[in-house]
C-alpha cells in the first residue's frame, strides 16, 4: 500500500506562453518513508509539491493520497516552504494554532497541540514572540510546528533549509530526523543539496531538466538513526557520487 501514488502527472502552466513544468511524472511513496526529490533549478520539483498538496491543478495524470484522488488542499497534507511564510501578525503560538483554529478545534485542545509541537521543535519560551523577532532557523521551526499541528499524514517540504546558513542548516537537518521519528509521517523533501538528500532520506529521486520527470530512484541503505559522522563514511560518499552523476547529466 502506497500513501502517495503519482501516475503520469503532467502540469502545463499557461501564463504568457505554455510551459510544461513536469511531464510523465510517476512516483510511489510508502507510509512513513522519507523521500527527497533533487534536480536542476526549474525542473518542476516544487511544482510537484504544489500539485500533491492540492494547491495547483493537475493538467493530466493523477495523484492518489491513501488511495483517494486529490481534490484541493487538505489539512492531512502539510507543506513547509523555503520562505517560512509565517503570519507576521500572529505570535509563534498563534501561528502554530492556525491549522487547528480553522479546523475549529476547541481552545483548550489547540493549546495542548501548540504546546506539544512548539516543544517538539525546541521553541519553548518563545510562544509569545512574533516572527520578526526570530532568526531564520527559528522561523522555519515555527513553520514546521505549524505544519505538524494538523497532524498530517504527509509533510511536503520545499527546500525548507535553502535560505539558512550552513550551521543552522545542519542543526535543523538532525532535528528534522528527530521530529520525523516522533511525529510519524511521510516526508517528501525537495532540495538542491545532494548530501542533505542522502543524509535525510530513505530514497532519493532525481529529476530531469524541464519538463521534469524522474530519471533515477536511489534507495539509501544507511542505518538509522543517522549520525553526522556518517557523512564522512565511504558509503555515504558513494551515494553522493552516484547521485551527483545523475544530477550533472542534467545540467
Amino acid at each position: 500500500m502506497f500513501i502517495i501514488e503519482a501516475q503520469k502527472v503532467c502540469k502545463i502552466f499557461n501564463k504568457r506562453e505554455e510551459i510544461t513544468a513536469i511531464e510523465n511524472f510517476s512516483l510511489k511513496v510508502r507510509e512513513n518513508e522519507f523521500v527527497s526529490i533533487i534536480g536542476p533549478s526549474g525542473c518542476g520539483k516544487s511544482t510537484f509539491l504544489l500539485l500533491a498538496a492540492g494547491l495547483e491543478s493537475i493538467t493530466s495524470g493523477q495523484i492518489f493520497i491513501n488511495g483517494s484522488k486529490i481534490n484541493g488542499p487538505d489539512p492531512k497534507r502539510a507543506i513547509v516552504f523555503q520562505e517560512y511564510l509565517l503570519f507576521p501578525w500572529k505570535t509563534v503560538r498563534k501561528n502554530v494554532e492556525f491549522g487547528p483554529l480553522v479546523r475549529k478545534v476547541m481552545k483548550a485542545e489547540r493549546r495542548k497541540i501548540s504546546d506539544k509541537y512548539i516543544k517538539m521543535v525546541g521553541l519553548e519560551g518563545f510562544e509569545d514572540r512574533y516572527p520578526h523577532e526570530l532568526s531564520g532557523g527559528m522561523k522555519q521551526r515555527v513553520a514546521i510546528a505549524r505544519a505538524l499541528a494538523n497532524e498530517p499524514e504527509v509533510l511536503f517540504m520545499d527546500e525548507p533549509f535553502g535560505s539558512l546558513d550552513s550551521l543552522t542548516r545542519e542543526m535543523l537537518q538532525s532535528e528534522l530526523l528527530q521530529i520525523w521519528t516522533e511525529a510519524k509521517c511521510t516526508v517528501i523533501f525537495v532540495t538542491h543539496s545532494i548530501s542533505e538528500a542522502v543524509y535525510l532520506s530513505d530514497r532519493v529521486v532525481v529529476m530531469s531538466r524541464r519538463p521534469g520527470r524522474i530519471i533515477a530512484d536511489i534507495r539509501i541503505n544507511l542505518k538509522r538513526p543517522r549520525l553526522r559522522e556518517m557523512l564522512s563514511t565511504p558509503e555515504f560518499s558513494e551515494y553522493e557520487r552516484k547521485i551527483r552523476e545523475f544530477v550533472w547529466a542534467q545540467v
Binding site: E133, K139, A147
Partner: protein
C-alpha cells in the same frame, strides 16, 4: 514628574523662538498689529473665546461633521475596497469610476454638493466623504491585492477556506495599508471641513476663522487657526495611537528594518 523628565525640551526651541520673534515684531509695531497681532493678543483672544465658551460649539460641530463624514467614508471605502479586490467583476465595474472621480479636487465638487444637499450639514458631510473615501478605498484594494500569493497558499494548505482566508489572512495581512489609508483620511477630513466651512457655513471652526477675517478681528482669526492646528494634531495623534495599537507587530517590523 516622570513625564517632565522624559520631555524633550529641544523640541520646543523652534516654536518658542518664533513666538518670541512674533511678539517683538507685534509689540514694536514693526508691522501693523492689524496684520500681525502679537502672540499675546492672539492667546488672550483664544482665552476669551474659551472662558466665554464661545469656541466649543464651533469645535463640536466641526468635529461632528468631520467624524460623521469620516465614518461613512471608512465604511464605504472598506466595503467597496474588499469588493473590488475580491472580484474581477466588481473591479471592472468600479475601477473606471474610481479612476474618474478620484482626480477631481474635493473643492471642485462643492458647488454640486450645495445644489444637491443644500448648504446645511448634508453637503458638508458629503464633501468630507469625498475627501476621505479615496485614500481608504485605494489602500484597501492595494493592501488586499498585495498579499503574497504564497502566504495564501500556506494558509490554504493548513485548511483555511474562502471566508477564513478573508478574515484570517487577507484582511489582517492588508491591515497596515488599510490603516495607513485611514490615517491619511483623518488629515483629509480636517482639510476638507475647514475649507468647506469657510465657503458656506454659519458655524464650525472654519466659519469662525473666515468670520473673524470678515469682521477684521485678526487676533480671533489667528486664534481660530491655532485651534484648527490643535485639532489636526489631536486627530493625527489619535490615529497614530490606534495604528500602533492594532499594528504593534508591524510597526516593530518596520522599525527594525526587517520584514517577516
Amino acid at each position: 514628574m516622570r513625564i517632565l523628565s522624559e520631555f524633550n525640551f529641544k523640541k520646543i526651541i523652534s516654536p518658542l523662538f518664533i513666538l518670541i520673534v512674533c511678539e517683538i515684531i507685534g509689540r514694536t509695531r514693526l508691522i501693523d498689529p492689524f496684520f500681525f497681532p502679537p502672540p499675546s493678543a492672539i492667546f488672550k483672544s483664544l482665552w476669551q473665546m474659551t472662558i466665554t465658551g464661545e469656541i466649543f460649539p464651533h469645535i463640536a460641530i466641526s468635529v461632528l461633521r468631520a467624524v460623521t463624514g469620516y465614518i461613512i467614508a471608512a465604511a464605504a471605502g472598506l466595503f467597496l475596497g474588499i469588493l473590488v479586490a475580491g472580484s474581477k467583476l466588481f473591479e471592472n465595474i468600479f475601477d473606471p469610476l474610481i479612476e474618474l472621480i478620484r482626480p477631481i479636487s474635493t473643492f471642485a465638487i462643492v458647488p454640486v454638493m450645495f445644489v444637491w444637499f443644500g448648504i446645511g450639514n448634508g453637503s458638508k458631510i458629503a464633501i468630507i466623504v469625498k475627501a476621505c473615501f479615496f485614500p481608504i478605498v485605494l489602500n484597501t484594494i492595494a493592501g488586499i491585492k498585495g498579499v503574497d500569493l504564497r502566504l495564501i497558499q500556506a494558509a490554504r494548505s493548513l485548511g483555511a477556506n474562502g471566508r477564513q482566508l478573508w478574515t484570517m489572512v487577507l484582511i489582517p495581512s492588508a491591515l497596515p495599508m488599510i490603516i495607513t489609508g485611514m490615517r491619511i483620511s483623518t488629515a483629509m477630513s480636517m482639510l476638507a471641513i475647514v475649507g468647506v466651512e469657510m465657503l458656506a457655513a454659519d458655524s464650525g471652526i472654519g466659519f469662525l476663522v473666515i468670520d473673524a477675517q470678515r469682521t477684521f478681528a485678526t487676533d480671533r482669526m489667528f486664534a481660530g487657526i491655532i485651534v484648527i492646528s490643535l485639532m489636526g494634531v489631536t486627530f493625527d495623534k489619535i490615529a497614530r495611537f490606534v495604528q500602533q495599537r492594532i499594528l504593534s507587530w508591524h510597526t516593530d517590523t518596520s522599525l527594525a528594518g526587517t520584514s517577516a
